[in-house]
Symmetry: C2
Subunit: 218 residues, 2 copies
């Protein structure tokens, strides 16, 4: 198996490639893993040695198939544990990420598959992120930022692209949790803020900064 640390690098590379669509740079990885570039270079050599990444000096890295499999499996575990923490233990969606960062490294196929069944094989975690299945397949729903919607359009809040506790707690206050129905009433040209109708009942104006991190299914 891979060490705790190797797993964290693989995960970081995976998340960065997701955003990037290109090879990931040493500095990006250093930033995401809170280490220094020199440490990253060392680790990249090791991961390349183990054939988990494609690595050419100065050219950044991409995951190999086996690196991708490993990364997706860690993400599967992370998200399943987040569901467990929220659905079974009653944690709030802004409290679970750090605990899942630890739990995702627990090493047992049987455990994670049984947990998956116990939770009813959920397809998304508490933040709306898709949960890879046993074989690593991910069903990503088509999500749209609120800032990309037109006045008059409606949809259902189904994800967030910012996971900080501060942001998630604000969404709680605004009533914009997952599953909430929203309809764009008006776009305010002055500051980019957006007036919404929430669940066909109350109205709410949210800033562009908030809106851009809320993802909706139309």
């Amino acid at each position: 198996m891979h060490s705790f640390t190797e797993e964290n690098y693989l995960k970081a590379i995976y998340h960065l490639s997701e955003a990037n669509l290109l090879a990931v740079s040493t500095n990006q990885i250093a930033e995401m893993t809170s280490t220094k570039a020199a440490s990253v270079t060392d680790m990249l050599k090791k991961l390349a040695e183990k054939k988990l990444i494609h690595y050419i000096r100065y050219q950044g890295v991409t995951l190999t198939n086996s690196g991708l499999t490993a990364a997706v499996n860690i993400i599967r575990k992370h998200r399943l544990w987040e569901v467990f923490l929220v659905e079974k233990l009653g944690f709030k969606w802004d409290e679970v990420h750090d605990i899942a960062e630890e739990l995702e490294h627990i090493n047992s196929e049987a455990l994670i598959n049984r947990l998956d069944d116990f939770l009813g094989n959920p397809v998304a975690d508490p933040h709306g992120d898709p949960i890879p299945d046993k074989s690593g397949k991910i069903k990503q729903k088509k999500l749209v930022k609120i800032t990309d919607m037109q006045a008059g359009e409606s949809g259902t809040v189904s994800g967030v692209s910012e996971h900080s506790s501060l942001f998630l707690k604000l969404l709680d206050k605004l009533g914009l949790t997952l599953g909430t129905g929203v309809k764009i009433l008006e776009l305010n040209e002055y500051d980019g803020s957006i007036m919404l109708s929430i669940d066909r009942s109350k109205e709410q104006t949210i800033s562009r900064d908030v809106a851009k991190n809320i993802l909706v299914i139309l």
Copy 2:
């Protein structure tokens, strides 16, 4: 917090003191942690430095109050996770120890207390071992080895002093799981084997080797 490794040493020292009632030796710890005596000596210096153990060269070690608190907390986590694995995920009692060895190091007060509540604040783990409460208090029931019982006496199987998968699966086969009622019918002088009545229905003869590891409440 303490490192994964430090936690494992503290736990080893705790379990050895339980059996010992005296200071624990370097070699005993090496044996239990599958390391060499030289490595143990290094770690003992570090744990003493941190005031987790009382350590005098060549004289063995005992836990300080804070070392004891730390050890008991790890054991609390281990046993609660074992209950979770058996009660919620459907694992057998012989399958959970190794997974719990990993889970016991997950570091979150909130998690373990919520888990405790989720499980209904169990007082014993799947092997009958007592679960320390939030404050570290342990309620140990008075248990007796079957080999210490007299013919005619009865009791309820409530613990085991051997946790190997082989032994536990044998108990499953014999029908001697926790909660089972047993009555001593006869002690065979020839080989020390013991004839039992199980749950007032079937009879079963068990070897002395098995009997000495089964603990009963009279």
